[in-house]
């Protein structure tokens, strides 16, 4: 049996015996992401539908100035409440989501045919309030245009004159592409899987060897150092890959629990799509492992290595953020940028787009290529006495 295979088998066997590793890399890691995703969706869907369906409770200041408007609102199912003494303060203190104020001169202006003003007091920085204030505004606008149309008709003018342009939106998004927007977190979750899955073994096989004083005896064995490192890297990649694989499986199993109907989308996650995602993400496992191994090799102890790892989990976030802020069309050059290419490709796959084979090849090739360069660097690290003996 060649040296690297011996090292690989031993590292895998040893780490499978560590319950902590199994738990974090192969149970919690793969479950956490998909569960988080589903939790987020459920919460979003719940909140949206709750606010759309529940009766709109509306505190109104100055009800007496616009009895017709109030009647209209009541007909539309709004529950009118007495207003708090200080509406601005109540909204600021989050006691009320939205307060409607009708100024005293409302009826005076109304009767004079001038524009009558109503005020909607709202804190727009509060996310969930948006739905409520939108509903109220829609009602107010509907009332306003209803009255406007009536007034024009009374004067014998066609109401169409008010709307020289009518906007008709013809939505080209498919249900799948709309769902894809919601799933934009998936690439990040999968890449985190690659990093978290390989993390423990990368540390254990490098800084861990130093800490438990087993590195020096290991390196005295008649096996070239690159083979020892190759075995360790492959074991790390194996765990990283396994973690990603399990994440995809967990995701597949949890898809039926996605509240897709509530969001007006139908997500069809097919097995070929998941297979494509795996093909895209697996080279990432090798790149992540090589990167983690290099990082952990410079650490003297488990603790030190662990403290670097916190930062590592931020790296796969970068392309997700970039795409969130700057959503761009997928282009060929992006395939040559590891992390970004996986992000873009997985997005395309989830959107149900046809991805050309050449993109797979470029993305896989560049990621694997960079991974191998890093692996080669990692393999030479242990030729340096300072790295070997630094644990002392």
């Amino acid at each position: 049996m060649s040296g690297w295979l011996t090292v690989f088998k031993k590292e895998v066997k040893e780490n499978f015996r560590d319950r902590r590793v199994i738990f974090t890399s192969l149970v919690i890691g793969p479950l956490f992401g998909p569960l988080l995703l589903i939790g987020m969706f459920s919460l979003m869907a719940d909140k949206t539908s709750e606010r759309m369906e529940e009766a709109l409770e509306l505190p109104v200041v100055g009800q007496q100035y616009a009895p017709n408007l109030i009647n209209y609102l009541i007909q539309e199912g709004v529950e009118i409440k007495p207003a708090p003494n200080n509406p601005e303060a109540a909204v600021k203190a989050k006691d009320e989501d939205v307060v409607l104020r009708i100024p005293a001169d409302f009826s005076e202006r109304w009767d004079a045919g001038q524009r009558a003003i109503v005020e909607v007091i709202v804190d727009e920085s509060r996310n969930h309030v948006g739905v409520t204030s939108q509903r109220l505004r829609r009602l107010l606008n509907a009332y306003s245009s209803q009255i406007g149309i009536l007034r024009l008709q009374l004067r014998g003018v066609s109401p169409q004159i008010l709307n020289p342009i009518m906007v008709k939106t013809i939505d080209q998004s498919t249900p799948t592409s709309r769902a894809a927007r919601l799933l934009s977190f998936l690439p990040y979750i999968l890449m985190i899987g690659a990093f978290v899955g390989g993390m423990h073994l990368a540390i254990d096989a490098t800084a861990g060897e130093k800490e438990r004083h087993s590195l020096e005896p290991l390196l005295i064995n008649p096996v070239p150092r690159w083979q020892i490192m190759a075995g360790k890297l492959m074991a790390t990649s194996f765990f990283a890959g396994l973690s990603v694989f399990l994440t995809v499986i967990a995701f597949r199993l949890l898809v039926p629990f996605l509240p897709a109907d509530l969001l007006g989308t139908s997500i069809s996650i097919t097995n070929p799509m998941l297979l494509g995602i795996l093909v895209v993400i697996l080279p990432m496992a090798i790149l992540a492992s090589a990167f983690l191994t290099i990082l952990a090799s410079f650490a003297k102890s488990f603790r030190e290595a662990n403290s670097y790892m916190g930062l590592v989990t931020l790296i796969p976030m970068l392309p997700s953020f970039y795409l969130m802020i700057n959503p761009v069309k997928a282009e060929t050059w992006m395939m040559a940028v590891p992390l970004l290419s996986q992000n873009v490709l997985i997005h395309e796959l989830i959107r149900g787009e046809q991805v050309s084979i050449s993109w797979y090849l470029i993305a896989g090739g560049t990621t694997l290529g960079l991974g191998l360069v890093l692996a080669a660097i990692a393999a030479t690290l242990y030729n340096r006495p300072r790295v070997i003996f630094s644990g002392e």
Partner: protein, 244 residues
């Protein structure tokens, strides 16, 4: 057999080894005796290929360990200062791992592990995970994995550090058996009783240089002292490092 000629090694400003020459013959136990920080470990690390000398030459059975690294490693059995074990593996699996890295066949390896279990008295714990092993148990496993491939030359860095009396005795017997079987044994220590009890040839190292060498009687003669301890102190010229 080991032949070392004018070996030198510096780490930045610090000259750790400043021109050491000696021979360690087969069928003899050679002791490197010296206070802590004298350069014993650095010398051994150059012998077992992990450190490259700045200058000087090393020949192990006629081969330069830094040119024929893999061949030399096959001939060496090394118990370094670091003797960490893999705690999630059993003692047997720890030893087997090193045997596999030496490319031993499964059958040879298993029978050799049985043999070493008997020689070193490891029957009680050979199939237990090494987590929580006593110092003595750990050293036995470290020695077993170092010699699993039956090397001609055995290097040990402070082998009795932290061992109880019984384990130390067992280790000494084992080293004497190796010597009788014609192996070349080199050990470093800062304990005089150890060299007196074991070594045929004593090399006293102080401050990166050889202060004196010979067998016990010769060292007493050279120093004009009546005990080895006095001779040791006199030959290295200081008591520093002896009390640790």
């Amino acid at each position: 057999m080991i032949a070392v000629e004018n070996l030198k090694k510096s780490f930045g400003e610090v000259e750790a080894v400043r021109g050491i020459s000696f021979k360690a013959e087969d069928g003899r136990i050679t002791g490197l005796l010296g206070p802590n920080g004298a350069g014993k470990t650095t010398t051994l690390r150059m012998l077992y290929t992990l450190l490259e000398p700045d200058s000087g030459s090393i020949l192990i059975d006629g081969m330069d360990p830094h040119k024929h690294t893999i061949e030399v490693k096959h001939k060496l059995g090394v118990v370094p200062d670091s003797r960490g074990l893999y705690t999630r593996l059993t003692a047997r699996e720890n030893i087997r791992y090193f045997g596999q890295l030496h490319g031993m066949s499964a059958a040879d390896l298993e029978s050799r592990i049985e043999e070493l279990t008997g020689i070193l008295g490891m029957q009680e714990f050979i199939d237990r995970r090494t987590d929580g092993f006593s110092q003595g148990q750990r050293v036995k496993v470290a020695i077993a994995r170092a010699v699993v491939h039956s090397p001609q030359t055995i290097l040990l860095d402070e082998p009795t550090n932290g061992l109880d009396v019984m384990t130390t005795r067992a280790l000494r017997h084992y080293l004497l058996d190796l010597k009788k079987a014609g192996h070349c044994v080199v050990l470093s220590t800062h304990i005089m009783q150890e060299v007196a009890a074991l070594c045929d040839h004593i090399i006293i190292i102080a401050d990166g240089q050889i202060a004196a060498s010979g067998n016990a009687d010769e060292l007493l003669q050279q120093s004009g002292c009546s005990t080895l301890e006095d001779a040791f102190v006199k030959l290295i010229g200081t008591e520093e490092g002896l009390l640790s």
